[in-house]
Symmetry: C2
Subunit: 243 residues, 2 copies
DNA sequence: CGAAACGTTGAATGGTTTCAACAAGAGTGG
DNA sequence: CCACTCTTGTTGAAACCATTCAACGTTTCG
């Protein structure tokens, strides 16, 4: 179906003008559709897999469990994101990957991916762009944990997620639907769930954002950007790699 | 000179048995030697460069400056590490790179590197292993900032550095020389310099580590590993990629 | 000698966690 | 169907970790 474009196609198209054959190769990668349920890991920590996935629908969390049992969430994946791509390319996986809701994902065999790369270098570059963007987000996450207080951290997180979702048509400057629990936020932001609750209340009562019943509403986008010191430069690279 | 092996060669050799021609290619990458002085950035934040470097001697810091002026250190590089490799391959650089002391680095042009990859796939794999190890360290750093208290964070950091340095013959279970200031530690660990000082004192008086006058001495390695919940698995991948 | 960089310490403040408790909705089995 | 549990969200009070402010000692270097 050329009519309903996949989220990944949407995302890449925002930065690189892809030709018809390139779009065809991209869509062909989506053929092996699979579903997964929340709770069961796609990839266990320490295990290395043969296949990567392109997330088509649903939310996924990448995390690392500490020896003492606490959990640190490294990143969330939303539709259009790759799952386990680095694990496959580099034969390593030091973190777990778990669906948050019922998800749909296209399984991509390493061979198919490499062949697609060989056929369409521009597509390869576009995907490498997406990978590098993911890494920039991890770095930004690290910066947030190290140098932002709880309020700014939360604000920055919600804003980043908003920009990411907008790119695949699942969000806007108004807000977005978000299935994450306050425990997810706590494990991602390095806070206790209790404090997450307080921070959310503070932001809500401050008229900045409202996160309730699975919906994020930006009440004062500019104010939030200001509080978070949010600079989306790392999300849409200064200059695209390709014309 | 085949006699004095470079730190990078040493590091890779610990995990992959490289053949004579492969070692040759590796040494040839080290030809364009350059020196840099502390204070001046090798790569400025936001700038993207043509060349990558292999660090031969000295210490380097990768950091990101916040809009409010505070600094978060993402990683340190020691001899045998690549500088700006990802920036070159992915045409992006969202962080600064600055020498801490007078350094020696071999400039590597993108073309030469890609050619070396083509000539010797095993070498390419070995280098990709090193890159993925760097990324695992960033993730581990993120986990530390999110889920470890100041003491464990410091202990973990000093231990990780010890393992990394041991691999290039610059450290052991006894300790190592370390030119970092308490300000560096503070910016890396997301603490204030004052608190870094207190933590170091506590660890020293607890008979665990002594960091003084540019030297780290492990007084009680096991105790430190215990405090930090240090599991070096992410540093020496479960199974090497190549026989 | 004076300045600058780095290290060290005390006291006060405050952000965050922990402990404890309660409310509301979803799902489950009797 | 209802009681039950589990998950998620919510709030208050006490305790604690880390920061900020302020000050001083040491060494290096021009």
């Amino acid at each position: 179906m050329a009519i309903e474009t996949s989220p990944l196609t949407r995302k890449l198209s925002a930065f690189v003008q892809l030709s018809a054959p390139e779009l065809g190769v991209l869509e062909r990668l989506h053929e092996r559709r699979k579903s997964f349920s929340p709770g069961r890991d796609l990839v266990h920590q320490g295990q290395s897999e043969q296949a990567a996935y392109i997330l088509a629908a649903g939310w996924v969390v990448s995390y690392k469990i500490q020896p003492d049992g606490s959990r640190q969430i490294v990143d969330f994946q939303i539709p259009g994101d790759f799952l386990g791509l680095r694990s496959v390319l580099l034969h390593t996986s030091d973190h777990g990957i778990e669906p948050i809701v019922e998800i749909e994902a296209a399984e991509v065999m390493v061979g198919d991916l490499l062949q697609a790369f060989a056929e369409t270098p521009r597509l390869a570059t576009a995907i490498m762009w997406a990978v590098s963007r993911d890494e920039a987000m991890v770095v930004e996450h690290l910066v947030g944990l190290g140098r932002r207080d709880a309020d700014a951290r939360m604000a920055h997180f919600l804003l980043e997620l908003g920009v990411r979702l907008s790119l695949v048509g699942m969000g806007s400057r108004e807000g977005y639907a978000c299935p994450l629990t306050q425990y997810h936020l706590a494990d991602a932001l390095g806070l206790s769930a209790i404090h997450v609750n307080r921070v959310l209340r503070k932001l809500r009562e401050g008229g900045l954002v409202t996160f309730r019943d699975g919906v994020v509403v930006f009440d004062d986008y500019e104010g939030l950007v200001d509080l978070a010191n949010f600079d989306p430069a790392y999300l849409d690279h200064a200059r695209p790699l390709l014309p």
